[in-house]
Amino acid sequence: MENKIAVKVDDLTVAYNYKPVLWDIDLEIPEGVLMAIVGPNGAGKSTLIKSILGILKPIAGSVSIYGKPYDKQRCLVAYVPQKGSVDWDFPTTALDVVMMGTYGSLGWIKRSGQKEKKAALEALEKVGMLPFKGRQISQLSGGQQQRIFLARALVQNASIYFMDEPFQGVDATTEIAIINILKELRKQGKTVIVVHHDLQTVPEYFDWVTFLNVKKIATGPVKDIFNDDNLTKTYGINFQVSVQE
């Protein structure tokens, strides 16, 4: 059992207007897990990730990464946003997008050089997109775009990865390729947190799960808490998901 806590969330409450999207979330994510965040639409899954990453400002609560605020620990964290959150007709190439992963460590004004390019090419290789490095990003398929996003996060060489629906709109080949990379990351001792929609694949892909529906319903190892009881509490209807080991 891991005992080091990678991400700790205390009393987190987030609201866009009047209604809270997240209410009083307490969450501890142990180091080295591959965790799914599941819940219905509007449950606040993406909001939770965005609040942890400081993209959204919470009304109350705090977040710490290995015991320190996120601002101090940025270099330990990488983020894969939803594919649909950007305009893929932007005039740039696959390699260029992956290079953006190096901008954080470069800091202001400094330009990327050979070292950064090499890292980006390696990341492209890992996700099997090296032959497409010069391709305009709008000419890539949805699955390829998702791999580019993944490569951009890999290039950050972080300890904790947050991914917002990386399997959305990708074909079976890409899904397998991505999950293999995530499992590889876990093997290296990294922590991976994934907003996930497909309940069927939770037991197969993940070892840790958080049920979320505005409030936190449950969090823990998949084998202990991924059951009909928690699913019903989260989704509000009766579920018959067979948990295969």
Partner: protein, 367 residues
């Protein structure tokens, strides 16, 4: 018209610089989907001009443009405020600020015109611009601002690029996205204000958008797009000035905008990768190829039932098949896929191989 005339050279130089800086910054506005922001800002500048005149009573262009800058900035921040603080969408916020500020500016202009002050005449030149009033000092100011803009662009290129593409991600990397955003927007406001004297409130946004929209058609690289937009903008300025100078009484601003529009139309039609013309040509070629291959596949279907693949068959056999036309047969023969003799056709070895590999070939092309 004497094209070596000093005044003419000053004006041409001014419009060229203006076109270049607007093209560069316009690229950012277009990519941020803030095309209308430029329009709102320029209209929002009008009351500033009027108020600056009312306060100082003088028509010094620098003072008036300072007023324009202030009210343009106020308009911009109100637009941002409306978008973030209310449920209104950005197009509503832009439209609202644009018409409110412009209306207020027009009101002030008519008020000023009724004043018993001989000095007031000519303020309305800011509506459509009057390049003829450009002085060498104005051009110097443009050149200085453009140089500063260039330096900032080069320094913060990486930051601008990543913010334009993915603002949330930029934030997680630790960049102050608000700062980058304000930097870009301020320069856009500055460029607009500089252009008011030449092109005017009403048409200013075209100076930002047209060169950028045209440039986007020719390249898939942000750097090249910005450079191309600057070139298109500069040429629009020069051509526009030359055309309006050679024809009496043609107002320069509108001519510049129309020249920029011609760049846009030309780019939309003739760009090799995104242009309508080549898209249509590619589309037609693909259709023809598909027709050809469908016919070939049908022939293959018939031929493979025979031991000798080149066994001749009657052309009549193909009549049931929709893809069959005389020109397709001819084309197939040209490609050496079939041979024709009289009313019969027969597959060649090459044609047979091509037809049996058709689908594999297609998937190979895809990858």
């Amino acid at each position: 018209m004497d094209f070596t005339d000093y005044t003419f050279l000053v004006i041409t130089f001014g419009t060229a610089i203006l076109g270049a800086v607007c093209g560069m910054l316009g690229s950012f506005a277009v990519l941020r989907k803030q095309s209308l922001l430029g329009d709102a800002i320029s209209h929002a500048a009008l009351p500033g001009i009027a108020i600056a005149f009312l306060i100082t009573g003088a028509k010094d262009s620098n003072v008036l443009l300072l007023g324009a800058l202030v009210s343009g900035l106020i308009g911009t921040f109100w637009i941002r405020g409306i978008i973030t603080k209310t449920h209104l969408k950005s197009d509503t916020a832009l439209g609202l600020i644009l018409s409110l500020f412009f209306g207020f500016g027009m009101l002030l202009l008519t008020f000023i015109q009724k004043q018993p002050n001989a000095n007031q005449a000519g303020l309305d030149k800011y509506l459509f611009g009057q390049a003829a009033t450009l002085l060498i000092e104005d051009v110097w100011l443009m050149a200085i601002v453009t140089s500063i803009c260039l330096v900032v662009l080069l320094l913060f290129w990486k930051e601008f690029k990543i913010l334009l593409f993915d603002a949330d991600y930029t934030k997680t990397l630790g960049f102050n996205t608000k700062f980058i955003d304000v930097l870009i927007t301020s320069f856009i406001v500055l460029a607009i204000v500089l252009g008011l004297q030449t092109v005017g409130v009403v048409l200013m946004s075209a100076m930002l958008l047209a060169p950028a929209a045209a440039a986007r058609q020719w390249t898939n690289s942000l750097a090249k797009m910005v450079i191309l937009a600057a070139i298109f903008g500069a040429f629009s300025g020069v051509f526009g000035t030359v055309i309006s100078a050679s024809q009496n009484n043609l107002s320069t601003g509108p001519v510049i905008v129309i020249v920029a529009g011609v760049f846009v139309i030309f780019s939309f039609v003739f760009s090799p990768s995104r242009g309508l013309l080549f898209k249509q040509i590619r589309f037609m070629k693909n259709r023809r190829d598909l027709q050809l291959f469908k016919t070939l596949a049908f022939m293959h279907h018939i031929a493979k039932t025979h031991e000798d693949i080149s066994h001749p068959h009657s052309i009549k056999l193909l009549n049931n098949f929709q893809g069959y036309t005389k020109s397709t047969l001819k084309k197939l023969e040209e490609e050496n896929y079939i041979s024709l003799s009289g009313l019969n056709w027969s597959l060649t070895q090459k044609g047979f191989e091509k037809a049996s590999n058709l689908y594999n070939q297609n998937t190979k092309d895809d990858a």
